[in-house]
Symmetry: C2
Subunit: 256 residues, 2 copies
């Protein structure tokens, strides 16, 4: 199941906010067996939102998760941007209005705005904050709009997005890590290449760093497969093989 | 000066790594007067790298900063991806080889690989690590390839990218923040809208949170203008106006 994340907010483009929402979602989606293809960060701009959504759908994403832009202020434009991508009007959604009224006094137009969804959207309950989310279809893709406030986003992801991914993901994901101390990444590269040549379904990544003049490489091995047991076996065999050679080359190993 | 960031690495798409590189770059570029239009995160995939670069150039980016994928391992594919976007071969760059040889023993092909750049690229010195960066042109856009290791990326940004932005940026950026305690975002929204209607060149953003049942709104006001003094005056006047009304509505204000 191919998934894209669309993070919406000028504060992200100005570097005021680190995009921890995207990494949290990416971690969850990966563990649930989904595949994140791309994460796109754009500003609070209607044309940018609409075109980024259409681009993701054209790339074949089955699920597009947006975060941010659902609040009451002038620059919260996500619902309007989604409506523009779908070429439908934004209209008051009665179910969203009831969700909102259960949370806050809906008097000011700025508050009422949060109940305006693209025509045909399914409103999604926000168990933590006020603004409801929305689920819509754009061609083959489902778009889920979540708030940018992390606690609200996480609660809504678990409630509304996890079931969609569990239902859609056909693959299982298994991963393992190890830390190798006293060996250079360039010395590991040929071993990693050899293992990957034998089994291209594996994912192997090394993260080098230097601490007090000692080279440390964090190694991450993962596998996406139809069968979790098979993936686990492949990952463990590959890791054992690499660590064996690394030890023979003098590295100290910490498995995690 | 319109700038895009392209963050390359499967670990970002799997949520193993939080993209602090992108927010650090976004903050620096903004303060230097550049405008970040989009941040795109993709995996270590040649076609993805090539197409993401071409898309950014088509959107009118004058500078595209890539991070990641310059190391010695099988999945470090950024230089090859850039070559594909430019439709030129990857070839051994003698200057890059000299930079590399000054740092490490270049014997294994995996190490030598780091001196292969797209034909016509200008190698960029890495004062911290081994892998050189590169500067190339793609139509109107300059592409600067930086490593993913934060300490290397930051040193190379300061050395090679800052001068490009200072030269290209025609605008100055000024910003100020305040924290409003005991007021709801929805109550601030109409004031913010009114200020923005009077001066659409301002940027105003509110970040709400709830702490111990008390609503707290962090307010961020910024302005991009040809003249720093003018931007400063606009930001200070707008902030003073909003804070005055917020105080009259019972909010406590902490300026920062």
């Amino acid at each position: 199941m191919m998934v894209e994340v669309l993070s919406i907010g000028n504060e992200l483009l100005m570097g005021k906010t680190v995009n921890t929402n995207a990494s949290w979602i990416a971690d969850r989606v990966t563990r649930l067996g989904g595949l994140i293809r791309r994460i796109t960060v754009i500003g609070d701009d209607l044309d940018e939102i609409a075109s980024a959504l259409k681009e993701a759908a054209l790339r074949g994403a089955k699920l597009i998760i947006t975060t941010g832009g659902l609040g009451p202020t002038h620059d919260d434009k996500t619902m309007e941007g989604i409506a523009r991508a779908l070429n439908v009007p934004l209209e008051l959604n009665e179910e969203a209005l009831r969700m909102l009224e259960a949370k806050v006094r809906v008097r000011a137009p700025q508050v009422r705005k949060m109940a305006y969804l693209p025509r045909g959207a399914k409103p999604l309950q926000n168990p933590v904050g006020a603004a409801p989310g929305a689920l819509v279809k754009l061609g083959e893709a489902s778009i889920v709009a979540l708030p940018g406030v992390p606690s609200e986003m996480k609660a809504m992801f678990e409630l509304h997005v996890e079931p969609l991914i569990k239902e859609g993901a056909e693959e299982a994901f298994y991963e393992a890590e190890a830390t190798l101390i006293g060996i250079y990444e360039a010395d590991l590269a040929p071993i990693m290449e050899e293992v990957l040549k034998r089994d291209p379904t594996l994912y192997i990544k090394s993260h080098p760093k230097l601490e007090g003049g000692v080279s440390i490489v964090k190694l991450h091995v993962a596998c996406r497969s139809l069968n979790l047991e098979e993936g686990k076996r492949k990952v463990e065999e590959a890791l054992k093989h690499i660590l064996g050679i690394a030890k023979a080359k003098g590295a100290r190993v910490e498995e995690s």
